[in-house]
């Protein structure tokens, strides 16, 4: 049923709260767009308000200042922006990692704020902290998934889990730039392959391919 078919129950305008929410969102959108386009410092509250089509003062009704808007933008997004859960145990770890990467990058493709973060970290230690903690969580998550794989004897026997986890995180974090700059259609696959080679001995990879993975789970 399309909107046109609605016969009753139409509010001629949005309820108050909702309208405020709309405006708040417009500001957030504008902040997002401008931060991304011009950088955080280069964007003023006035700019954001103008871009959202509201007066300067309105900005301050919804946000105590520029930084708070940014925080709203970041809230709950940082984790998304960071690397995803990775499952190592599969028939074809390379492909499944590649798929995982592709999904991740598709998800964060639009998260342009990524480019603003570095600018901010140097002057906003609170934000730096938040990000640092999130990365630590990600790091631990990756590491623990690797630990499981190790317990099953799948990874290089002399692997330093801390270091690989870190390397994986770094690679995934920076991968989008690489993907975007490459027309190479196998990019995901190539990256996944690299990572798998850091983790698994070639024998294991072969072995997994022919096996019934269920046995490991």
């Amino acid at each position: 049923m399309s909107d046109d078919e609605k016969l009753v129950g139409e509010f001629p305008f949005l309820p108050k709260q909702e309208r405020a929410q709309v405006k708040r969102n417009a500001l957030i959108e504008s902040g997002y767009a401008l931060f991304q386009a011009k950088g955080y410092e280069q964007t003023t509250a006035k700019d954001i308000a103008a871009h959202a089509g509201v007066a300067t003062g309105t900005f301050y009704r919804y946000f105590s200042d520029k930084r708070q808007l940014l925080m709203s933008l970041l809230e709950d997004k940082i984790e998304t922006f960071l690397p995803p859960e990775i499952s190592w145990i599969s028939n074809d770890p390379v492909s499944s990692l590649a798929t995982s990467l592709e999904n991740h990058y598709n998800r964060i493709h639009e998260f342009g704020l990524r480019h603003v973060l570095p600018e901010l970290l140097s002057k906003d230690s609170e934000l730096a902290n938040v990000l640092e903690k999130a990365r630590k969580r990600i790091h631990e998550r990756i590491q623990s998934s690797l630990k499981q794989a190790r317990e099953k004897g799948l990874v290089w026997s002399d692997l330093d889990l801390d270091t690989v986890s870190w390397a994986i995180m770094i690679i995934v974090e920076n991968g989008l730039d690489k993907i975007n700059k490459t027309e190479n259609k196998c990019a995901y696959q190539d990256i996944a392959k690299l990572i798998c080679r850091m983790v698994f001995p070639p024998t294991v990879l072969n072995q997994l391919r022919g096996s019934d993975v269920e046995a490991f789970e």
Copy 2:
């Protein structure tokens, strides 16, 4: 009359040009120190001049503006700051890479400006360009060194050189943070091992270890 002919009286005074050079250097040093300590935006031209012991106006005699001073600081240092030449062919690629990394990180350890770059890239596309080009050069350098190794049949046969080069660059670029956060003494070795596993099949690594490397060069 050349400097050589001066017999007396010249002691307290440096030749004009030299004095200028001294001032210029003082400004560069101060800029470096303050940018590093407080960030680029947070450092004012006045600050820098004061720190260098000259008047505000003097700053502008030597640099057209704050940005130019920064550029002077960066010029010739960007390359240093980025990953070094890597030689893949050795008896023990892991150890030699580890040593290379250690040297590199020791060299750039003090390059505190590293933390200022992100702040700048968003607002200075020229700088971003410069950095981008430098990275491209590094990338090509790594890639070409890998190509040589491939021609000798040392690397994984299905290796995508572009992607590995990129991954190596990313890892090396970010490695210092990792090293600093780890008390692990083998950090360099661990990172080197990872990288080598992305590049060389295990058989090759073993083979190299026992061989007379000269044969490959």
Copy 3:
């Protein structure tokens, strides 16, 4: 249908005008409280509305602006706040003046706006004018009462009525601060005595004390 005829249902609602009056009063009360507590400039229209439990916009339905509310507060109060009518002819002018002062100060004790006036006079010449006129009225009132006393030969023969009236006004106006800072219980009496000495020769005072005042009236 008059109010009298309503039998039921009217309970929760005040007649419209009355409700408006209630709101207006609430605003006045709130304005009074906040001006007194925080000063005129420091109090915003929003503050006042919030304190009165109405919306910001409502404030402007009842008052054209903040200033007008203040004027409403002051209207009819200025005169109260200024010195009272004084009757000079009595058996004991000192005591009767003291009593008069005490009454006056008790009456204006709560007139906290007193402290707000100075802040306003510098920027509101109209208000300054209003106050000036009120003071002139007071001055004349005092002066004419003194004139009566003079006609009866009670005051110093060389008294400049204009000047004494002024001095009395000044003293009474400022007296409350004095009273409040003193624990002295005779404060009213002491002030009254001073004033009487400016007005009456000692002989007259003595004479009055023993006389039948009616004779002078």
Copy 4:
């Protein structure tokens, strides 16, 4: 000798420090003029700078803010602005007090800031404190001079020194307004007479007039 006659020793421009002082003074003058004309709140730093013929930023080179400029204006002037030392013992206390008043008022005639003080006291408790302390000093000064007179048996025997001192202070403080509003040439004399009547019994005044005051000193 006029400026024209100076032949040598002319500085083509004032020494640096002096010029800065000149500018600082210009700002102080402008602050004074504008505070007086428009009130403190109504005057902005920009106004003051413009009036002084300098840029906004220049204001902030010399003063941290408006308040500091005001403080500079007030410093050392508050005491002047308050009532002067009074000597009670003289052949003709009325006249000598009148003279003293005249001198005082001539001195502070230009101290227009007087009208700004009230505005400030309500929002600047530090300033209020400073003024309060100054008034306390004045009050004590007057009281102690009265005490001397009392010890010589010159004043009303039942005089409450605290109250009279206060009344005198109030009258003197407010007297200038009175004087300015009056074309009466005897204004000083009239005020002085009032005050003397609060202090001295008429017999003492007569007695002093005919006496050799030295005897009391």
